[in-house]
């Protein structure tokens, strides 16, 4: 469903990606942990096709239209309402009107945004905006999810709800790459974990039922060794 082969990319003399390869099948979630500047965001951008890698290639089944993306910025228009934003992005993905209405209603309910449906995005708090960004990323029912620190700004309840939403997506055969510096947040969702440092996966392995504590230990160990 998603395949990366020998990805390499550098910004000037700084190596952001150094020979990254992995494959994800439907129902797999790869959590990539790494300190700031490890190249995590670059990896997602290359996977999404926003940056053309200098070496190697990334392939996503279904192409760009199959990708749902949550980045550092919400990618919403501040002056448009929540619903207008969702409709606009859905129309770029050619989602039929009926489906947009159904999915938007569904997502707004799940993310407890119904009361804010017709408010402009600029009037919303940071946490609410992040929830709208999540709805935006899922509006076209993407098959591959690329998530960059998606829990930023979410309170406990919203994070919990988002986690459940993601679990459903995975159960429906979606493949997910989740990138974060926070081991606590990502572990539970992951089927596989990767530790990234200076553009390399220093480890890439199945989570094998380990909890956040053990993954955090493994992470510290791996990053220290490298």
């Amino acid at each position: 469903m998603l395949r990366a082969e020998g990805l390499r990319h550098a910004f000037g003399s700084v190596r952001a990606l150094d020979d990254i390869s992995f494959t994800l099948h439907p129902g797999q979630t790869l959590a990539v942990f790494g300190p700031n500047g490890a190249g995590k965001t670059t990896l997602l951008k290359v996977l999404a096709g926003l940056i053309r890698p200098q070496g190697g290639r990334a392939q996503i089944e279904g192409g760009r239209g199959a990708v749902g993306w949550i980045g550092h910025q919400p990618q919403l228009y501040a002056h448009l309402t929540v619903h207008e934003n969702l409709r606009f992005w859905a129309s770029l993905y050619d989602v039929p009107d009926g489906a947009v209405r159904r999915r938007a209603g569904d997502l707004l309910a799940r993310l407890r945004l119904e009361a804010h449906r017709d408010r402009p995005v600029r009037a919303l708090s940071r946490g609410l905006v992040q929830r709208v960004a999540i709805a935006r990323a899922l509006i076209h029912d993407p098959r591959v999810l690329l998530l960059d620190e998606p829990f930023t700004g979410l309170d406990r309840m919203a994070a919990e709800e988002f986690r459940r939403l993601l679990e459903e997506q995975v159960a429906n055969g979606r493949a997910t790459v989740l990138v974060t510096h926070n081991v606590e947040e990502g572990t539970e969702l992951a089927t596989d974990v990767a530790f990234m440092r200076a553009g390399r996966f220093v480890r890439l392995e199945p989570r094998a039922g380990r909890g956040a504590g053990r993954i955090a230990d493994a992470y510290r160990e791996a990053i220290a060794d490298a």
């Binding site: 926003l50 940056i51 760009r64 002056h79 129309s91 770029l92």
Partner: protein
Amino acid sequence: MPDTLRHAWVIARKDLLVEFRSRTAILSVAVFTVLVLLVFNFGRDPTAVAAVDLAPSILWVTFTFAAMLTLNRAFQLELENQALDGLLLAPIGPRSLYLGKLLANLMFVAVVEAVGLPLFALFFNVSVLPVLPPLAGVIALATIGFVAVGTLFSAMTTRTRFAELLLPVLLLPFMIPPLIWAVLATAALLAGRPLSEAGGWLRLLGAYDIVFVTLAFFLFPATVDE
């Protein structure tokens, strides 16, 4: 191609909606237009130069400044919240993005010109009505050309330092040739001479439009492709 046009229209419609909601850009440009016309009134010696001699230049200098202001807006809008990344991720071609922006810009500039023209006629006592259809044609021909180039350039300048300054510096050399032809054609019209006398200028304007719309359409992907 139908896909390209449909997506372009989706983007243009979104821009218009954002503008309708915020109203800041269009209102400030309209006020600006009035102010420029006022400045011209005080910047000339009415006993020495008849209004009708200066009128074509006044009209076009005003339109040039107004267009410059609206063009800066086009991609600025996409940079807030990184919406541009979202647009590049969506399964639409970059040319849809260009056409959408071009369409929205043309509509903005057209609105500003529609506000500016009657005020110009009023302030400088120029009878525009008898030559309105051919004059509108001249305005449209000139506007299409420089807005096409301006839209292309603003995609580059908004992502640089000093964006608001750099766009006029880059664009003015490209605006001046169509501006000269438009001024000459306008002068011929306002002096009551037949349109055929301005044929040479109109042909040049047409050629400019064809060359630069085509060029911008094909070059635009290079401004967004990473």
